[in-house]
Amino acid sequence: MAEVSIQEVKKYFGNVKALNGIDLKIEDGKFVVLLGPSGCGKTTLLRCMSGLEKVTEGKILFGEKDVTNYAPKDRNVSMVFQSYAVWPHMKVYDNIAYPMKIKKFDRQEIEKRTLDTAKLLGISELLDRYPVQLSGGQRQRVAVARAIVLEPAVLMMDEPLSNLDALLRVLMRSELKKLQERLGTTTVYVTHDQVEAMTMGDLIAVMREGVIQQYGKPEDIYHKPANKFIAGFIGSPQMNFIDVQIKRKEGKMCLVAPGVEVECTPEIAKKIESGKHDRLIMGIRPENIHHIAGKESTTIEGKVYFTERLGAETIVHLKVGDMRIISKIAGDEIFEEEKTMNMYVDTTKIRLFDPESERSILD
């Protein structure tokens, strides 16, 4: 068990700045997700934490110990690789037992721990088989078993679910999370899948181009994204972004665009005032655009371009002027194409971003 502290870490590959100044504190026992698109540096950061890569600058501490220059084997960490890396020439039992064998545990201890861990992961009947005889999902469990058998200080996982089929992925998401809760091991989990991040993480660090954009609880990241990138990366379907002008109408502050007119709540109006903006990017998630048939005070008016009926919900694509705006409506409804619709925006849920810096002006 350890608290991980990453201080001003930079990692350059020649001229490529894979990590450009990372500061991160991971509390003991927490499940932290490194989330971001490919090339953002999340895997590099994980590898630096494990010692497989050496940092160019900065420090890494486990608790009080400065492990920046330690080899992987001296850091007491564990890793589940994306390809599982289960050793093909050893049986499952030996795969799980090997880390203990290296550390010269005595035979009884090895046997006990191996059997217990196998039971925990539900692979007790597979102990005598070779990895090539197992399915992908089974091999993944072996990799996890091997990783936790030594009770590492930090458990690292590099996109462990990305090679599984969709159904298995959903199942394993909850199993891995429950396992971590039970063991209480500090865990760092890398993924590009925002659903995994949202459902599994205690905290999420959203990364982009070698920098952490935001670090917080999933609900904070979802409801209060710090910039346009994060807002667009999390949430499916993607948040709608509309370039709006600020106008005053009968004493109220409004955000307007062709086909769009949104009244600001007093709190939001205050923020806009103090910031002295005249243009902004408004972000509104599809589930916060509602359709109420025949209501008079409309805020978005557009024509139906396309409908996706998913059974439990309906996704409507609207053509609003030159823009495409997406609304997510509960239930199964039918909308004719080319029909004009008036949508109501939940004004408490809008996000506002500065057009140049793309940073949120709220919170």
């Binding site: 590959f13 020649g14 497989l52 890569e53």
Partner: protein, 284 residues
Amino acid sequence: MTYKKGVTPYLYFIPVIAFLIVFLGYPLIETFRLAFTHSTEPLGNFLRVTRTGEIWKALKYTLAISAIVVPAQLVLALALALFINMRFKGYLFLLYIISIPLALSDVSAALMSYSIFSPSGYINKILLNLGLTDTPIYFFGRGFESRAFWVIVITEIWRATPLVFVIILAGLQSVNKEYLEAADVFGFSRWTKLRKIILPILKPAMLSALLIRTLFAFQIFGVTWLLTGRDIPVLAGEAYYWQSIRFNSNVAASYGLVIAIVSIIISWIYLVVLRSKEVEGARA
């Protein structure tokens, strides 16, 4: 892969590079030196040797053999590879038979030819027994150079075609099946498929094979020496003669020099072609 800064990765190569510098670099330079030094003449041995005319004879024969053998190998290897790639039942067995010569040295191949073409060899015995001739037909020896030449050509083709075959077969197998299936849908004939799809994709492999084979064709030695001695002189054969029998390293090195220069030219062509292929690939 791990990105390594500093001097560590280079340490892994020191033994290899040091060894190659001593055992390839130094001899290469020495060859130049030996060829060009002479007690009295300024540009030395090399010029002397060229003036005697022997070297031209050796060069001529080496070129002639290469010019016939290499294209023949390419064509035969391509035909074999296309045949095997049809994957008929039992093709694996035939594949292994074709790769037998890969294990053989040129000495063994020469001796096999000898057992067939010698005065008491199989061909003569068959001809004698069929009554087609009264005395044995000589394929080797003074005065029979043209026959010996063709025996050498056949032996070399037999011996080295499998080497080219292996390269081309590997290239053939990497031809994406989907290209050929698309061609089928569009109604291409077999011949057209070969010309328009397979050959262009095979070009790099064939080019590689061409350059490598030419390079090694210039070094032909065992076959000519064992079958004909100096009757059919080739560059390497003359080098061996002057070194081990006449103990004249300078003249021997002169012959070695010609081989070295040809190798350098061919390697340089190979590099240029390789480089341009990469650029082409990047642009595509």
